[in-house]
């Protein structure tokens, strides 16, 4: 317990340091408005991609419908905050989004998670498309035009804090008893079943948790960008999130952070290239996959504990 306290304190220090660093850079003027937007988008992408990594990397369930849950979070929060445009409203919107996305994930997950591999991918993609088409045709969501003038209740600080909280939730879940059960399903479903793990239950837990966290990303997107419409949450968005996960390394949260930063910065650098930007982006994607198929970091995780033990071992020798 005491030992863990030390590591946890270090992590807390890193989190606070990161916040202070961005704050200082903002004050000094190194990060301008454009840089801040890039950072916020990177943060939102981290939330979305870590939650998808939980589903794909740790539970081994190939979901292609993450943007659907993001859309539910975005619309819930946008609708709630346009009625109650306060921080409290944002929190209520966040909560509503989490509940709606979780509930829909439960409804979608119970039948579809019986499928595996590519079939699951296609079924989840279909489910996300259905969500998008419904949003596209509802009165309350203003159809294809989408919602605009959403109050700006999220700034980089909100995003930063939520990135830290969601990452904590996911990492702690993965390291818990339930998390180990989820990973056993990924390693070998039949073996897991034979030692008494209710595989369907754990798959659904991971899927619902992933969806709920994705809705947080959606809510931040809505309240930072201030306009949303259904076409923001199509298959392309799901694939964009998937690319971050795969690029960083499936099953590596550290990798997801690195990949979100790399892609976010790449996007910023290529901004001046216009249409050519997407061409270069896709080329980079193909080249990385051809030469490093396991992603940038594979399943490697950054760990304060290992860093310390490593030092200690060196000191003893």
């Amino acid at each position: 317990m005491k030992k863990n306290l030390k590591y946890n304190a270090i992590w807390l220090a890193i989190a606070i340091l990161g916040y202070v660093l961005i704050y200082a850079l903002e004050m000094v003027g190194v990060i301008d408005q454009f840089g801040e937007t890039t950072l916020v988008l990177i943060g939102i992408n981290i939330i979305l991609a870590t939650s998808l990594n939980l589903v794909i990397g740790f539970a081994g369930q190939f979901s292609l419908g993450h943007a659907g849950f993001m859309a539910l979070g975005a619309y819930s929060s946008a609708l709630v905050t346009s009625v109650i445009p306060t921080v409290g409203g944002f929190l209520i919107g966040l909560l509503v989004g989490i509940l709606v996305a979780g509930l829909v994930a439960l409804i979608v997950g119970i039948p579809t998670l019986r499928l595996n591999g590519d079939y699951l991918a296609i079924a989840t993609m279909g489910a996300a498309e259905i969500i998008r088409i419904i949003l596209n045709n509802l009165k309350v969501t203003n159809g294809p035009a989408g919602l605009y003038n959403i109050p700006m209740l999220a700034n980089w600080g909100t995003v930063y804090i939520l990135v830290v909280i969601t990452t904590l939730i996911i990492v702690n879940f993965v390291h818990s008893r339930n998390g180990r059960a989820v990973m056993s399903v990924r390693e070998d479903e039949i073996a897991a079943e034979s030692i008494g793990i209710n595989t369907t239950k754990y798959k659904i837990i991971a899927f619902v948790l992933g969806a709920a966290i994705a809705s947080i990303g959606g809510a931040l997107h809505a309240n930072y960008i201030q306009t949303i419409n259904p076409s923001d949450f199509g298959i392309m968005e799901s694939i964009n999130i998937l690319i971050i996960v795969v690029l960083g390394g499936i099953g590596s949260i550290t990798g997801t952070f690195v990949a979100a930063f790399v892609l976010g910065l790449l996007d910023m650098v290529l901004q001046n290239f216009g249409t050519l930007r997407m061409v270069l982006y896709s080329l980079a994607l193909i080249l990385i996959m051809v030469f490093k198929p396991s992603g940038l970091l594979g399943t490697w995780e950054f760990s304060v504990r290992r860093l310390f033990n490593h030092k200690k071992a060196k000191g003893d020798a």
Binding site: P111, Y119, G126, A127, N137, M278, V279, M289, V290, P293
Partner: protein, 292 residues
């Protein structure tokens, strides 16, 4: 009754396009277990090739169709060689991401080189409408149906009757065993890509003629729907893909005819999910028992 027949005709012509595309998906999936996301974009390449040769070189319809098939077959083989072959032994998800990358590259590369404007496909053939028992059928609809069915029969003959077809079937059952008995796997996979892409090229020219407009992003939605069609019919099965394509085409036109055009894509996905739940192996697929 007449409207039902009319919608049936429309649905069948649209469905045969989906079927042609779905065949490519199903063959590639059957042989290397890869969802080739770039397949829809090969169809787009076919349409652009047709547009180019008809406008610039004044090809008539048949040479345009055949040259588009050859061009797309080459494109498919090149894509397989450069992007998918190096990933043959890596995790499947890496190959899938590469396929998505290739799809992005084709879409954005075409937008970059030729601008993303929608353009009119040249009328390589005068449109004639026939009235048959009160049902309007255009010569293009008949052409689409006939060409697709002929191509499907040809494909079935190639797969069932030729040596290469036999090799394809062998590789899809067990690549290692196929290699042991002397089948050149690389060549067989290239051949599969060539066949599938040629069909997609034909579909591209036909849809250009039918809908009259093409753009660099035209392959995205039909590509996904064709994949749905392949899954619906039973992925890896040639007759399944054809059946799935027709089912999706009919479903889409039926939804439109009933006045739910906004939901036509949603209906396709709902049916897909239901089929996957009831018969995970697809309509024609056989359930294979899982061995421990």
């Amino acid at each position: 009754m007449q409207t039902v027949l009319q919608q049936l005709v429309n649905g069948l012509s649209l469905g045969s396009i989906y079927a042609l595309l779905a065949l490519g998906y199903t063959m590639v999936y059957g042989i290397i277990k890869l969802i080739n996301f770039a397949h829809g974009d090969i169809y787009m390449l076919g349409a652009f090739w047709g547009y180019y040769v008809i406008n610039q070189w004044h090809f008539s319809f048949w040479p345009a169709l055949l040259s588009a098939m050859v061009f797309c077959a080459l494109a498919g083989v090149v894509i397989e060689y450069l992007a998918y072959r190096p990933l043959r032994n890596s995790p499947r998800i890496a190959a899938l991401i590469t396929a998505i990358g290739v799809s992005f590259l084709l879409e954005n590369g075409m937008s970059y080189l030729f601008s993303s404007n929608v353009r009119n496909f040249p009328q390589a053939m005068a449109v004639k409408s026939y009235n048959f028992l009160g049902v309007k059928i255009s010569n293009i609809q008949i052409l689409i149906l006939v060409v697709s069915i002929v191509l499907m029969i040809l494909l079935q003959l190639i797969i069932r009757r030729t040596k290469m077809g036999k090799a394809m079937r062998a590789v899809s059952v067990d690549p290692d065993a196929a290699q042991l008995i002397g089948i050149n796997i690389d060549r067989t996979i290239s051949f599969t890509f060539a066949l599938g892409s040629a069909l997609a090229g034909a579909a591209g020219v036909l849809i250009g003629l039918y809908y009259n407009s093409i753009d660099p992003l035209m392959g995205m939605t039909p590509g996904i729907k064709a994949f749905v069609a392949a899954v619906l019919g039973g992925i890896g099965l040639i007759p399944g893909a054809a059946l799935g394509g027709f089912v999706i085409g009919l479903l889409e036109t039926a939804t439109q005819a009933l006045g739910f055009s906004a939901f036509k894509d949603a209906v396709v996905y709902v049916v897909l999910i239901i089929i996957l739940l009831v018969r995970p192996a697809g309509i024609l697929g056989k359930n294979i028992k899982e061995k421990v």
